[in-house]
């Protein structure tokens, strides 16, 4: 703890020296946090690795993940064991599992990041507005949050996708509809205490507009909370997408880890013991979700020491 306090003292000093590009201190701390918490650091490294895989997917796996491969004899290269040519073997229909795994990273990150962004945005705005304005606006927003929280998670996602059609954006929509209340509630209660602080009072006295107080004076202080919930939402969205695909409601045109698992399950890869088919996608999901846990944990430890023990 002592070294942490020291670091906090060092950073503003460095900032003062480089005034020209000075970021708001809270943003600065948000960006440097991972360096201070080993768990969060590991989380960030995992994210970066997957991001690299997603960006360079076409180079890492040159085979088309949906292409049916043939042997030189003209037969379908079905259920090939892992080897030099196919690092993880092939599916029962002769598709390259390694290529699917690599390309699955893209859709996992797309689902996770877009859901996280929207959840954090909606949760933050609702929490800010409800906490700051109070009264009937607050009551209304919080009742809507209660309602969303009393929906059973996965059943709701399935029913919604059953209606709206098997599209990845519908998975994101369903996740957002169910996850925003958690962040909105916590942010709201934080805003309730922040709006009574003296610096907010001072801003009010000097004639700052409501919007300015809300977005310039209060919002930056709850930004770490938004990050915490965004990091959690990434994992939830990816698990939800995988579950939905596994249950057969996934986007048929999309190569995802969930689709791979569903494919393996439906084509008896379990009884054949094709571990190379169904173990790697699960491990990838665990890594991404755990990375989210670690990062949110880091933000909490650094920014909300009251929660730490």
């Amino acid at each position: 703890m002592a070294e942490r306090a020291e670091e906090r003292g060092v950073i503003p000093a460095q900032l003062a020296a480089r005034r020209s590009w000075r970021l708001p201190p809270i943003v600065q701390r948000l960006l440097t946090m991972p360096l201070r918490d080993p768990f969060a650091f590991v989380g960030i490294v995992i994210y970066l690795l997957f991001l690299l895989v997603a960006v360079f997917a076409d180079r890492l796996a040159t085979t088309d993940p949906t292409e049916i491969l043939f042997l030189s004899t003209g037969k379908v290269a079905a259920n090939m064991p892992p080897g030099a040519e196919y690092p993880l073997g092939t599916t029962n229909l002769g598709r390259d599992i390694y290529a699917q795994l690599v390309h699955g990273t893209e859709s996992a990150l797309a689902v996770g990041l877009s859901a996280a962004l929207i959840v954090a945005l909606v949760g933050t705005v609702v929490g800010l507005v409800a906490g700051y304005f109070g009264g009937w606006i607050d009551a209304l927003l919080m009742r809507i949050a209660d309602m969303a929280l009393s929906l059973p998670f996965l059943p709701f996602v399935i029913v919604l996708i059953g209606f709206l059609g098997p599209d990845t954006s519908n998975v994101v929509l369903a996740v957002v509809l169910l996850l925003w209340p958690n962040s909105a509630r916590v942010i709201r209660s934080q805003v309730l205490s922040l709006r009574e602080r003296s610096y907010v009072e001072a801003a009010r006295v000097t004639g700052a507009s409501q919007a300015r107080i809300l977005f310039v004076h209060i919002a930056p202080n709850i930004l770490p909370l938004s990050f915490v919930y965004a990091a959690i939402a990434i994992g939830w969205a990816i698990i939800t997408e995988a579950s939905v695909s596994f249950l057969g409601f996934g986007d048929p045109d999309n190569v995802s880890w969930g689709m791979m698992l569903q494919d393996a399950f439906a084509s008896q890869a379990l009884s054949r013991g094709q571990y190379a088919w169904f173990v790697p996608p699960g491990v990838c999901i665990i890594l991404v979700v755990v990375a989210g846990f670690f990062i949110s944990r880091g933000y909490e430890e650094v920014f909300m020491p009251r929660l730490r023990r």
Binding site: P152, F153, P155, S271, Y275, R309
Partner: protein
């Protein structure tokens, strides 16, 4: 420490009664009851309009092109679908109150009957997994808190987090491949072996065959569920160990073991008990995937099948039943929280 960013613990926190202190207990109970009832009513309403707004007539499975226009109209009238939406909604509510959820499109039987047949399977699966998970989680959590700072504690927390990060169905798949297909210890799915006949449902449930089928789904679900009680118990223990009454017990010269079991653990258990009640409701929803992996004839698998064949009345009924269990268990959790926490039950500000 680890629990605060954990999604399920976040849920648990979000649904626990917030400002309980300072009000009369009876009034609080009524308030929570009203709150949960209204939430369920809201869910019912959302569901009604969702099913009405979706493409296609709700009678799609009954009306076909062989019927002429007059016959189709007569049928719509028979089902009350020619009336205004709000009247349909009231009829729907009145029917629900009588336990009437319509006919399944495909099975051509009342939905309520179908659901009541599979509900026991889901409840048995959920409760046995939760009991296994919570007994293990509480003991392991308390033990880890006691081992605070050791290498085993440092290694255990990320491992537990990883079990919570794994998709439930994937844990199920790996266990199936290893324990069922490879080693042949457990049957690979279903709730009873083909050819078995029982005179009553109870006889079936208490048969050895049923328990053999139940074992692997329970292990899978328990493995997924144990993380929450474990992390909760661990952090509660750490918190409680610093409270005054523990210091007091120490000053009285009680042994470390008695302090841990008799004083600290009792108090640390409180939120875990509430989490258990909530867990029943929450994992009923999550069972959707576990039941599918193990072809377990429960309500979650019923929902998945109904949605995929567009059997709307059955899907609606299954969803409502899961939502109802969730609402009831939320209320039970509220009650437990109020009874167990002296700060709330004695009306002092908490």
């Amino acid at each position: 420490m680890a629990e605060a960013h954990d999604p399920s613990v976040a849920d648990y926190r979000a649904t626990s009664p917030e400002d309980g202190g300072g009000r009369a207990p009876m009034k609080l109970v009524l308030e929570r009851f009203l709150h949960n009832t209204l939430a369920l009513l809201a869910v019912i309403t959302i569901l009604f309009f969702m099913f009405r707004l979706m493409p296609g007539s709700p009678l799609a499975a009954f009306i076909n092109d062989n019927l002429n226009e007059d016959q189709q109209k007569a049928m719509l009238q028979q089902f009350g679908l020619d009336r205004p939406m709000w009247q349909q909604y009231l009829i729907y509510l009145a029917n629900l109150a009588r336990g009437e959820m319509g006919l399944s499109f495909f099975q051509r039987r009342p939905v309520t009957g179908i659901l009541l047949e599979v509900l026991p399977n889901s409840l048995i699966l959920t409760l046995s997994s939760l009991i296994v998970a919570y007994v293990f989680g509480v003991l392991a959590g308390a033990w880890l808190a006691w081992k605070r700072g050791s290498w085993i504690e440092r290694a255990a927390v990320p491992v537990v987090l990883a079990t919570r990060a794994a998709p439930e169905f994937w844990i199920g798949m790996v266990l199936l491949a290893l324990l069922s297909f490879k080693l042949g210890w457990f049957p690979s799915g279903g709730a009873s072996s083909p050819g078995e006949a029982y005179t009553s449902n109870w006889q079936r449930i208490f048969s050895l065959d049923y328990l053999q089928h139940l074992a692997l789904p329970v292990i899978t679900l328990a493995l997924y569920l144990q993380g929450l009680p474990l992390l909760l118990m661990r952090s509660n223990m750490l918190e409680v160990m610093h409270e005054e009454f523990v210091t007091m017990a120490r000053m009285k010269g009680l042994s470390e073991w008695r302090i841990v079991i008799g004083h600290a653990a009792r108090n640390a258990l409180l939120p875990v008990v509430t989490a258990f009640a909530l867990g029943v409701g929450l994992s009923m929803g999550g069972n959707v995937v576990i039941e599918t992996v193990f072809s377990w004839p429960g309500i979650g698998r019923m929902l998945v099948q109904a949605v995929s064949v567009h059997d709307y009345p059955l899907a609606q009924g299954a969803f409502l039943m899961i939502a109802a269990v969730l609402a009831v268990m939320n209320f039970v959790a509220d009650l437990l929280y109020m009874t167990l926490d002296p700060r709330v039950s004695h009306g002092r500000a908490g």
